[in-house]
């Protein structure tokens, strides 16, 4: 009977099985969920479409090619106010990336130094680091950004004080850098004829450094002899480029910032908005990274450093050769999310007037053209793609340094 039932009488499909049969129920639930989701999205979109149509601005990205009409004083690529909104957005994206990259580098440096020093046996140093971490972490980052900006504006000399026969303020570093309360003026390189060769030489020496590093490592693994790699690398880094620089008759020169009638001319300018944002983001994120570093170091078992001491390694070598490489595995995942946080927090640039993508596309372009929907869509897409790229890259790096287990 049972055999016959199984073979011949497949129970006929009934509609109620969609709910009561666990084989079909999950499909039913998913279909209903999908339908509800689609309905909700369709409802929102149709509302948006009819609202936008009523306002007379149907969805369209044509506004990106219209002239922007506003200036951006800190930029990496050529831009003037006759160029399009799209170009302005691009300048903004590059500015976002600039401050994010600068911030991540300095925040990592601050984080590692502070995190290591917090575990120092020196009482006053470790207390100071704790105070720094707790103070910075428990006050909003927006407040830090505004505070840093105010500090730079209030405490640095005005441009006007560099003027005149006997100026109140002087340029620093052999008359090459002017630190003022609206920005820092630094010399810019001017490339004359033949500078291509110097640059090519420089690139070649960078490649040579990489190959030398590999060779030295292989040699150490094979023979045990240790070369003073740092000094040799430094020599490769400097000497050939410098040699060719003089052989070619100094083709690369510096253009120094000069005080003209009312402002500095020549050289590059780093606006205070960028400096304060960079500084505040690095100090803020650095405190979080320091905590991650501390947690990572404490996760390495005590026996590792004891073994290193037993082998006769000094505390510095123990930290850099034994503890940090192992701690790195614990540190990387929170580090990824801190980098992402820093990138997202860089959108607060709008509070100090640094023109990142939020300031251009989500700020002035949005207000001038009234294209809220399109601007915000592009803005979010920019941040999403940055976030995804960073996390994909960092996850790849995380995979590559993970403990290789059998």
């Amino acid at each position: 009977m049972a055999m016959a039932d199984q073979a011949g009488n497949q129970p006929a499909f009934r509609l109620s099985m969609l709910i009561y049969d666990s084989r079909y129920r999950s499909l039913t639930i998913q279909a209903v969920a999908l339908m509800l989701f689609m309905l909700a999205v369709a409802w929102l979109l149709s509302n948006a479409a009819s609202n936008l149509a009523a306002l007379g601005k149907p969805l369209g990205f044509g506004f990106l090619s219209q002239p922007a009409g506003y200036d951006i004083n800190q930029r990496l690529i050529e831009y003037n106010n006759q160029m399009s909104h799209g170009r302005a957005a691009l300048v903004g994206i590059l500015n976002t990336l600039l401050v994010a990259v600068l911030g991540c580098i300095t925040a990592t440096a601050i984080g590692i130094i502070v995190g290591v020093l917090r575990l120092s046996s020196n009482w006053i140093i470790s207390r100071l680091m704790t105070v720094y971490i707790e103070t910075v972490r428990n006050v909003p980052v927006l407040l830090w950004i505004i505070l840093t900006n105010a500090l730079l504006i209030e405490s640095l000399p005005k441009i006007a004080s560099f003027r005149g026969k006997d100026p109140a303020s002087d340029l620093i570093l052999w008359d090459s850098v002017a630190v003022t309360n609206s920005g820092t003026f630094i010399p810019s390189p001017v490339f004359g004829g033949g500078s291509g060769i110097v640059i090519a030489m420089f690139v070649l020496s960078l490649i040579a450094i990489v190959f030398f590093g590999r060779w030295a490592k292989a040699r150490q693994a094979a023979t045990g002899a240790i070369l003073p790699t740092f000094w040799i690398k430094l020599a490769i880094f400097i000497i050939p480029a410098l040699l060719f620089f003089f052989i070619m008759g100094r083709p690369v020169t510096l253009e120094y910032p000069e005080m003209a009638r009312f402002r500095f001319e020549g050289g590059y300018v780093i606006r205070n908005s960028l400096i304060s944002l960079w500084l505040a983001l690095s100090l803020y994120t650095g405190a979080f990274i320091a905590e991650a570093v501390r947690a990572g170091i404490q996760a390495v078992s005590q026996g590792q450093s004891e073994a290193a001491f037993a082998l006769g390694l000094r505390p510095n070598k123990t930290m850099s050769l034994i503890v940090l490489p192992q701690a790195l595995r614990v540190i990387i995942p929170p580090l990824i999310s801190q980098y992402l946080n820093l990138t997202k927090n860089s959108s607060l640039a709008i509070a100090v007037g640094y023109m990142d993508v939020t300031g251009t596309l989500g700020g002035i372009t949005l207000n001038q053209t009234g294209r809220e929907m399109e601007s915000l869509m592009i803005l979010m897409a920019c941040y999403l793609s940055i976030s995804i790229t960073v996390s994909v890259f960092m996850n790849w790096y995380n995979e590559s340094i993970k403990m290789k287990e059998r």
Binding site: T135, P140, L142, A150, E154
Partner: protein
């Protein structure tokens, strides 16, 4: 026998530790100058701390507390401490601290947000301390509606009829399973409250107000500001994000592909964009997604977006908690014959939430700090108010005093919460 005893019967007096092992000099030697490099660092840092304090402390204490404008303040400081002294003008805080705390809330009604704030601690007490009687949880359940009524005022029947929606949902989930089966009951428990809120809650509240008029003076959202606004946005965000976050976290782990994709998409989208873009959506875009003609105020829109933002982060926190639960717990629940919702409610979630409490607290700290971002879209939170105060002629030019006060407020709240979460972490450690 007895005189052969070689066990000492009386204790010797405690001896001092050997010289060079205790005392202040040894402590200084060991902790401040253990090596040359460390000693140099010590000297440098003492010098830096001295410089910092020498700069800030005189400024802080050579101050004026009673002047009514910045110029008056400077004159008072010059009069008291000599010409050319730079001192803090704490008078601005003395005059405006109420505004920084309450925004433009009517001053005779300050007791309402204050009372709501203190009742908040009563409401969360059963979560924080397990000695509190469980009965207090009923108060926690009605607290959100009570707090809404106290802050915004108006008729008491509005929050009560809103609360009735939840009661309807609760009874649907208790009574209906016997009638239409558990799946149907869950669907009904989700749909009925929504029907109630959209169709019936308004008229019922109006009718009850007509019969028994109980109301207090209503205060518009535009009057909200200062620290009250930050706390309000933070608490609403975290309280609402908890249930949504739980659902999202469950959805993310679900074997149902469609549900999982929707949840992952939502979480990753929200976590990939900065909060400020979501606030821009709240200030410019959110009304577009509603049926033509609807418009609700900015504070509410900001709360919606902040809630969505917090939910995505909360979902990740709870996912971490779920991941930490041993597989045996799921299997044991299955072996007992519990269905998915019962297992989740009775076995899995209590443990997962307990593990995640420290992270939930730090999530809340982050969210609370992020509420300052609303100043960028023009709401008057403490940071926004500093600009408003500076726009006054009397206080034009006051910078540090205001920022210091706001920073101090945030520091006190966030620091005590982070200490609390560390305490919790120690307390909840039930491991070995």
């Amino acid at each position: 026998m007895s005189d052969l005893s070689y066990v000492r019967t009386e204790m010797l007096d405690e001896k001092d530790p050997p010289g060079g092992e205790a005392g202040i000099v040894t402590w200084i030697h060991k902790n401040l100058f253990p090596s040359i490099g460390s000693g140099i660092l010590t000297v440098i840092s003492i010098f830096l701390v001295y410089q910092l304090l020498a700069g800030i402390l005189p400024w802080m204490f050579k101050s004026s507390w009673t002047a009514s404008s910045l110029n008056e303040c400077r004159e008072a400081i010059h009069l008291a401490y000599g010409e050319g002294t730079e001192g803090a003008c704490w008078s601005v805080i003395n005059e405006r601290y109420k505004q920084l705390l309450f925004g433009f809330y009517p001053s005779e009604l300050y007791w309402r947000p204050i009372l709501a704030f203190f009742l908040l601690f009563v409401a969360i007490a059963p979560v924080l301390f397990n000695k509190v009687p469980r009965k207090v949880l009923y108060f926690s359940a009605i607290y959100p509606f009570l707090a809404f009524w106290m802050v915004w005022g108006g008729s008491i029947w509005v929050p009560i009829s809103a609360m009735l929606g939840l009661v309807v949902g609760y009874y649907a989930s208790v009574i209906l399973p016997a009638v239409i089966g558990s799946l149907g009951a869950i669907v009904a428990a989700m749909i009925l409250p929504i029907v109630w809120w959209i169709l019936l809650a308004g008229p019922v509240a109006g009718m009850l107000q007509g019969i028994v008029p109980i109301s207090i003076e209503s205060v518009g959202s535009d009057k909200l500001g200062g620290f009250t606004l930050s706390v309000l946005i933070g608490v609403v965000g975290i309280a609402l994000s908890l249930p949504i976050g739980i659902l999202l976290a469950l959805g993310r782990q679900s074997p149902l592909f469609v549900v999982k994709i929707i949840c992952v998409g939502f979480i990753e989208f929200i976590r990939g964009v900065p909060l400020i873009t979501l606030l821009f959506v709240a200030s410019t875009l959110l009304n577009y997604f509603m049926p033509p003609g609807t418009s609700f105020d900015l504070v509410l829109r900001v709360m919606i977006m902040v809630t969505l933002f917090a939910s995505a982060y909360m979902a990740e926190v709870i996912r971490g908690g779920l991941a930490a639960i041993p597989k045996g717990q799921y299997e044991a629940a299955d072996a007992l014959g519990l269905d998915f919702w019962k297992a989740t409610r009775l076995i899995i979630m209590p443990q997962a939430l307990k593990i995640s409490i420290p992270n939930i607290v730090s999530n809340f700290i982050g969210l609370f700090k992020d509420t300052t971002l609303v100043s960028i879209i023009g709401l008057l939170d403490p940071l926004g108010l500093t600009n408003a105060i500076r726009a006054n002629q009397e206080w034009n030019g006051v910078v540090w005093e205001l920022y210091a006060f706001v920073a101090l407020l945030f520091f006190i709240v966030c620091f005590s919460m982070s200490r609390y979460s560390m305490y919790l972490e120690r307390k909840l450690k039930t491991g070995h």
